[in-house]
């Protein structure tokens, strides 16, 4: 137990405190978090994410490339589209095919749906309670019912897009390598527009709720990494760039990014070769692509006081709000311009090849690489989720706030540590099996 300090701002205890989050509530899945504080310093920070060791990569070997999008979609229940898009683009690259035109636009629309539902769930149900001083969304709903109701309706608008294009809300079944099994009629997409327009207005009306938030003070010299496209806010295409000068083709990912084993987790820590950890996700995308945002999204960013460089990870929350606005605008743009294509998918030649892709999952870049043999079977697969790439950075954030945690009562310290992890909206199901968390102080 602590040495009896019970008020904030007190001298740092010289005794050892261990904070282990008993359950890291309100992230997708569960996580294991342990921080050992000695004299106000973090002696040890362990974010234990128990990844099914290369389960899916092994499972894909020998499968037909046509099965890959459906198999990889099962890695994550809330970002199946991201896995389908990364896998499709990588497999198409292996065959030397580029999907363009209306099919490319439909993919952007599908991704918009996923960003909207994922970001809205995280913002309104998982993270906003932290900033408004509530233990959870249920407590927040008692005082901010309109906010929660609107947030859930925005989420549902995103779900509707994924259902309409994906063929099913639970697990999209309409995505295939080369495009879709069926392209929707214009009328099917028009039916989505009214609710997306409502959601866009609702997000604009809710901006004041976010402008008054206070953010814990934390800024670090992050290397932010995201895709960058010549003209668009990125989803599926672009070069991989960073805030410290990296600018590479996605095929060069393995040459610049490495994974290192750490003893306390089966999830690997990602590093930029020769440099260190890095930061992917909405805050990285915003910093590196703010000039690509639509007008409504730029207005939202201005209203929220967001202007690059933004290096406080707690401001990932308003960055997600901006991206919801952007995704709603983009979805409506695609729908307004849509003409049903004559074919729903491009044919791929059956050839051996290696293909890489990075697409921007809601939580950051999701890298896929496949080696395909001459019969169209998977020889080798590599999948690196964004949460895995952020894991080392999350731990570094916890080390950085350790002195603050040492001064705080245990409950407050625990909550602050959890809030810091939630900045990354870690989709722990992508990089973990079943995790346990416990908080202990000694």
């Amino acid at each position: 137990m602590s040495d009896g300090d019970e008020s904030g701002g007190k001298p740092i205890s010289k005794k050892t405190r261990t904070i282990r989050v008993d359950t890291l509530a309100r992230v997708e899945g569960e996580g294991a978090l342990r921080i050992e504080l000695v004299g106000g310093r973090a002696e040890r920070v362990e974010l234990r994410l128990f990844e099914p060791p290369r389960f899916f990569e092994a499972f894909l070997r020998g499968r037909s490339r046509t099965e890959v999008p459906d198999i990889t979609a099962r890695i994550c229940g809330i970002c199946p589209v991201a896995y389908q898009m990364s896998s499709c683009h990588a497999l198409e690259a292996a065959a030397g095919v580029v999907v363009d035109g209306p099919l490319r636009e439909l993919r952007r629309l599908l991704y918009c749906g996923e960003w909207i539902e994922s970001h809205a769930l995280h913002v309104f149900m998982l993270h906003l309670p932290d900033f408004l001083g509530y233990p959870d969304a249920l407590a927040m709903a008692k005082d901010h019912g309109d906010l929660v109701r609107a947030g859930l309706r925005v989420k549902k608008a995103g779900n509707s897009v994924v259902s309409a294009l994906g063929g099913r809300e639970i697990h999209p079944i309409n995505v295939k390598v080369g495009g879709f099994y069926r392209a929707p009629e214009r009328a099917e997409l028009d039916a989505l527009a009214a609710e997306l327009e409502w959601a866009a207005r609702a997000m604009r009306d809710m901006l004041p709720a976010f402008t008054a938030l206070e953010y814990p003070a934390l800024e670090r010299d992050y290397e932010l990494v995201a895709l960058r496209h010549p003209s668009e806010y990125p989803f599926c295409e672009g070069r991989i760039v960073s805030s410290k000068g990296l600018d590479i083709d996605v095929r060069e990912y393995p040459e610049h990014f490495v994974e290192q084993q750490v003893p306390y987790s089966t999830a690997l820590h990602s590093r930029i070769r020769g440099r260190g950890g890095y930061f992917v996700g909405p805050l990285a995308r915003f910093n590196l692509n703010a000039d690509r945002l639509s007008s409504p999204a730029r207005d939202a960013a201005a209203a929220l006081g967001l202007e690059p460089p933004v290096l406080n990870p707690f401001k990932s929350l308003p960055a997600r709000v901006v991206e919801i606005v952007e995704a709603l605008h983009e979805a409506l743009r695609v729908i307004a311009a849509y003409r049903r294509p004559t074919v729903s998918a491009v044919e791929l030649p059956v050839v051996a090849g290696i293909g890489h892709s990075c697409t921007e999952a809601p939580r950051g870049i999701l890298y896929h690489r496949y080696a395909i043999d001459a019969a169209g079977l998977v020889e080798d697969a590599r999948i690196i989720p964004p949460t895995s790439q952020n894991q080392g950075t999350i731990e570094d954030d916890l080390r950085a706030i350790a002195p603050d945690l040492a001064r705080m009562p245990l409950d407050a310290a625990t909550h602050r540590a959890e809030q810091a992890v939630r900045n990354y909206d870690p989709c722990i199901s992508c990089s973990t099996h079943f995790l346990r968390l416990e908080i202990v102080e000694r």
Binding site: G29, P52, F55, R74, G77, I78, L138, A141, I170, H171
Partner: protein, 155 residues
Amino acid sequence: MTPRALVIGLGQPAAGDDGVGIAVIVRLRAEGVLEGVAYETAAEASALVERLQTGVPVIIVDALVGGGKPGDVVVLDTERLAGDLRPLSTHGISVAQAIVLARALAPAAVSPMIRVVGIVIATAEVGDAALSPLIADAVPQACAKVYELIREVMH
């Protein structure tokens, strides 16, 4: 036609036994839709918040960890749920939390009677497309419980 009862199956079919709620709905539909009963599915509990805003009784079918041994089928009275049951699947809120949230957001609109048919599982495995044999064997019993509740709520 306006239904007189709503049965909602929850779960992720791609997460093994977590998909048992969906499997129950599939079987119920295959056995023949009862007059006046609507069957729906949802991937996760936050979808319940809106769907519970109905004037008819609702029966939710979902996987459950704890409350029995794997394969057991239990009926939960939601009036006694504490609202803090941790979600089994990976994203968002639990069924209990969704019910509490729906009641907080729309107290006048939420169904007057909500029951949960829980099928106890050991764990959910991401990537498994099928139910384990033990849980697959529990599906008919869960359907029987649903029919029993339908008779109860529609009379």
